[in-house]
Subunit: 294 residues, 2 copies
């Protein structure tokens, strides 16, 4: 897929060279980022940018930055004091390869590098053009808020605190979905729109589309999880047979969950059609994301 | 001290309210930041800003941000997988009070909040005035680089990797001092100068002053450590009697170290006098910092 190659190239341009006395951290940062993944966030950002006619370079540092932020959150989530995961995408996690101390620093380094990259990205902004400066400002505000303790990190905190509870109410589950997965997906699309100079109405539409995508994406995750478990067990399982009510599917049931994914997807596609521009790739990508089978 | 009260008030304005489902992380972030400290970095930033005639509000978010970055580095350094410290400044460390998982998230939250604060600080910039925008850009670039894997974090990495070695050469020790302590002290003064609109020559002078201050500050730390140990033991100790050659003092000896602190201080004060403006508080504060007895 050509699209993915373009994205990989852009990200790699912003990753550090592995030299200097501190080179271990650079190796760890590159290891974590190059461990793969679908690059969903930079793709969404890039395609939304193009939807609104964006064709500059200012999008590139933001694309790299959102992938760095996503990766840092995975590195820290895998740490022994959070999820204690040894493997991710078939490879040993960063703290397994580089040790726990370096795992911590690698995450810190990636989060910081995201903002260094955004700072350097200001070189692509014509500082004499206040419209460009305003767009940069709004994009920087948006992405930084979505990543932090009012955004994604809030989801990680509530997720961790919910772990020991038997039943989690649906409101908390929706909060979790919107924050933990949803915030960065939303930031991806909204930043793409803002940097392309989309007007307020269109940015609001994109925000709603992205919110739907985030929630549907997460419910689809639950659905795939249940179907996978059913296939393993060789028989269907009801929501009440699951360990606890910690997912959307466990609360509302499998069929209704599928309906909800469909509803959210259709609403998103309909909202997208209100926008003047057209980006078929984006529509197809959203549909693919939401309806994916794995 | 009135100065400290002003600084404390500015920092507190940017700290989160403790509500929302994720309020534990906010409590932890506020705990870590309010645990005290001398607020050296925001004071240096503020005074350098005033030295160059700065009198706007744009300095405030940067002052709060540098203290957040400093605090995050302490929270993560205290974690079991780094220094495993239970107490700091007479209080239990953040991960002791809130647990290890939350310690990790609190550090992440503070680093991210620093950049959210800087992003929101762009509201104080007149986006139609390209000179202001340029100054903001340079300040943002500078502080983000000093905090990350090319700056302070590089020092933390090399520090940790040096721990198990018997002898560390003087070059590595100087690198450590310049990075781990020096980078944020340097960022404080340089960002103050840049945001006040200081010209390139003056920013370069401030950079040299701050570098001297950072190194002298750290050597003074070593000296106080040796003197403290001597007082405890009740007899003087030579550098070769120390556990390993991991400090400047252990390499060059106590008396020569004191000389070096004096030399660096005098050079810094002399450099400062080349600047047109005058800030007696800053001169006194630097002398106090470097010659402090504890």
């Amino acid at each position: 897929m050509d699209e993915l190659k373009i994205i990989e190239k852009i990200i790699s341009e912003y990753m550090p060279k592995e030299d200097g006395l501190q080179k271990t951290i650079f190796e760890g940062m590159n290891y974590a980022v190059s461990a793969g993944g679908k690059r969903i966030r930079p793709i969404l950002m890039y395609e939304t940018y193009k939807l609104f006619g964006g064709n500059g370079d200012v999008i590139k540092p933001f694309m790299a930055a959102i992938e760095m932020i996503h990766t840092y959150s995975l590195v820290h989530d895998d740490m022994p004091c959070v999820d204690n995961d040894d493997m991710r995408r078939g490879k040993p996690t960063t703290h397994i390869v580089y040790g726990e101390t370096m795992g911590l620093f690698v995450g810190d380094g990636l989060l910081n590098l995201a903002f260094e990259t955004i700072a350097n990205g200001m070189d692509y902004v014509d500082t004499a053009d206040s419209k460009q400066v305003e767009a940069y400002k709004e994009a920087f505000k948006y992405i930084s808020k979505c990543a932090g303790s009012f955004g994604m990190l809030a989801g990680q905190v509530v997720d961790k605190e919910s772990e020991d509870k038997e039943d989690i109410d649906l409101d908390t589950i929706m909060y979790l979905y919107e924050k933990k997965t949803g915030e960065l997906l939303r930031a991806s699309m909204v930043v793409g729109a803002i940097l392309a100079g989309a007007d307020k109405t269109d940015v609001d539409i994109i925000e709603k589309v992205a919110t739907n995508v985030g929630i549907a994406f997460q419910i689809q995750d639950d659905i795939l999880d249940v179907i996978g478990t059913e296939e393993e067990l060789g028989k269907p399982i009801g929501s009440d047979e699951r360990n606890n009510k910690s997912t959307y599917v466990a609360h509302v049931g499998l069929e209704e969950s599928k309906e909800e994914v469909k509803r959210l997807t259709n609403e998103a596609i309909e909202l997208l059609s209100e926008i003047d521009g057209k980006n078929e790739f984006l529509e197809e990508f959203l549909t693919f994301l939401i309806n994916r089978k794995k």
